[in-house]
Symmetry: D2
């Protein structure tokens, strides 16, 4: 198994904490989306604004499966790691892992399937080749059975 | 002093509470904006979507002055009252008062000046006459000096 | 199949719309949580604040599976329906369905597993009997195979 | 006039954009608060979590005056500059200036008065001496009249 992983760390913010004293769970998805925006700069060398408004390509969320095993609190550094599980014809499956500080086991994991659409029409479109090339290094390659 | 006041009550939400256990102050402005959206249905008989997308009129915030004298907590009912302080040529000054439950003194007050723009161009435009007519009953009339 | 369903409608808000002109997907979860807060008043006759702070019981999210088939836009009324799929010993699986206006097919669905914890310690605890009784009518009863 | 200024840049995020295609104004305050959190690390050498939970000191907002002269859009880099206008006995007045990219004139300005409270009791307390010392370099010194 060998692949590239996008890694970036973010602070858990005062306003993201809820009445129970831990990070409000919808804020996890906002955080994952912010990481997704940053991801494009590394993967493609283009800002997310350039992807959307320049290239006219959008990635609406189609399906989410996520698990939350331990909370985040104010002062925690959240390390977000993004890889890809599958590059389909008109969808991409990303894997998000959210770690506290330098822990080895993620406290939150999500597999998020995004469609590929033309921003002008909101219609599905194929993933352009140079996008596919940019994403390919992030795809987790399962070891072949011997 | 006689004028119409928009009054609507909202729950303080779990996700609006911050690490200090009280309503996060940026959430007050989100709440005021939601009340502002509801206000148009009463004042004009049109939804905020119709105002923006149908009539093509927007009200960007230009100036805010607000005071916070006591916090809101989960379980509080926030009563929002909206009146107008001034209908200018190309701006409107609204007054927001936020009360806890049935208290008489507001816990938060804000005067918010909104510009009037054409959504298509983001350029200033005069307030249409029927908008002015719809807003006039909400303008606080100061008693004339005797 | 017969069960009680919590139904409540909410406006899609100006601030919930994102750069693509549709409801920002993390805002769906904020909306589902607000409906979850309202749910307790119907199901148990107690506000969510009383559940958390009075009874000292919390429901942290453990697992989410959700699908998004069509967007919501400003001006849409989102009808949220909540039922329960499973009352476990220390977890509950809720089903959320989000409909646009009076459509019959949901545009978003989610199965969300919540743990049951003591707010004082964040430790798992069994679901109290009167909570179980209050939730039971919302459990979807699959028709028995004939 | 000579003083220290906290300067940090942040991306305008996809989810911060509203239906009008510009940054939602309540999100400006969330952004200012995030900068305020970061400010303490530079000024005091302590994280905001340490300020609140370690030192038990909080800074609830008491008064805001802010002006918005031009919008921010997706892809803009927002440069936040924080200085102090006044260190009172039990309150501090901060000045926020929000610039687009490397522009010289701020697009948004705010003067925010924060109280000083003990987090345990929410009662006002004097600003501790080492906090005052840490904040003093950020106070804008008006030139004395000659």
């Amino acid at each position: 198994m060998s692949h590239r992983t996008f890694v970036q760390s973010y602070k858990v913010r005062f306003g993201e904490i809820d009445h129970a004293g831990v990070m409000y769970y919808p804020a996890f998805f906002d955080r994952m989306h912010r990481a997704f925006e940053d991801f494009w700069e590394e993967a493609l060398g283009r800002s997310y604004a350039e992807v959307l408004d320049g290239d006219g390509i959008g990635f609406p969320v189609v399906d989410i499966h996520s698990r939350f095993s331990a909370p985040f609190r104010l002062g925690d550094i959240m390390r977000v790691e993004i890889a890809a599980l599958r590059l389909g014809g008109r969808s991409i499956t990303f894997r998000y892992q959210l770690f506290k500080d330098d822990e080895d086991a993620p406290r939150t994991e999500a597999e998020i399937v995004s469609g590929v659409i033309a921003m002008g029409t909101f219609e599905p479109q194929p993933l352009p080749d140079h996008y596919r090339a940019a994403l390919t290094p992030y795809v987790i390659q399962e070891a072949a059975p011997s």
